[in-house]
Symmetry: C2
Subunit: 150 residues, 2 copies
């Protein structure tokens, strides 16, 4: 299973080719040896490392957190308090975002339900955006909390 091209590694890991190169460039993924012609040749350790990163990203960890977790996993004798703390912090963050998004969802539902399907001037969607007082009023006091994303 050794001598994986970057494309093969991408397929096996589920991480896109440019992203793999990006991870290497920022020191998230060990730089692999190269073929005589200069192409990257990976092994199973790289695959494992990349899957670790991918899985962490799926769980919403930032690359800094994942770097810290990687470092910890390389020191198996250390207490796992720090790893646990990072995970708890991430859980708290996810819960915060869910709460914000739930408030947003409720407000959007209200907007959409009350739309009378007439003209813009009477449209509840536009009205609500123009005047926050038409809201239930409990959403996203901190607009950082709201969302953004893909």
């Amino acid at each position: 299973m050794t001598d994986l091209s970057i494309g093969r590694l991408a397929t096996l890991s589920g991480v896109k080719v440019p992203t793999i190169r990006y991870y290497e460039s920022i020191g998230m993924l060990d730089a692999p040896p190269r073929s005589p012609g200069g192409q990257r040749r990976y092994d199973d350790d790289h695959l494992e490392q990349l899957r670790f990163i991918r899985h962490g990203r799926e769980l919403g960890f930032g690359l800094d957190d994942l770097r810290a977790l990687q470092d910890l996993s390389a020191r198996p004798d250390r207490p796992c308090e720090e790893a646990d703390g990072i995970a708890r912090k991430q859980l708290a963050e996810v819960e915060r975002r869910i709460a914000g998004l739930e408030a947003v969802r409720r407000e959007l539902e209200r907007m959409v339900e009350r739309c009378s399907h007439g003209v813009v001037d009477e449209c509840r969607v536009i009205q609500t955006l123009s005047d926050h007082h038409l809201c239930a009023g409990d959403h996203a006091p901190d607009h950082q909390t709201a969302l953004r994303d893909t």
Copy 2:
């Protein structure tokens, strides 16, 4: 209430000063007249426009959507189908994100609960990241779905 400085506008709207200038630079907010010395002087229409944008951002609309909604609100006779559609699209997006985050939350809870508070080598947090098979396995197949944000 006319002749607002940018700082006053920022206070009244809840949008930061650099963000206001940014919105102007990308054509989201009308450029205001200037004082003799070249400082921006806003009026109530600008405040309203900015509150519209802010409210929309809190609800997670992208700036492109908000531009479209702004344009629609300037044409009150048009049917509100388009506005309704944009809101429904946003609602669907928010629901998608909540679903993704709920899956992530469940997984993080599992990780944290099972952490034995021993050493890293036995740490469920690290183990789970290393091996996806330890997951309930239902989270974020598309990693775009997951999260990211502030």
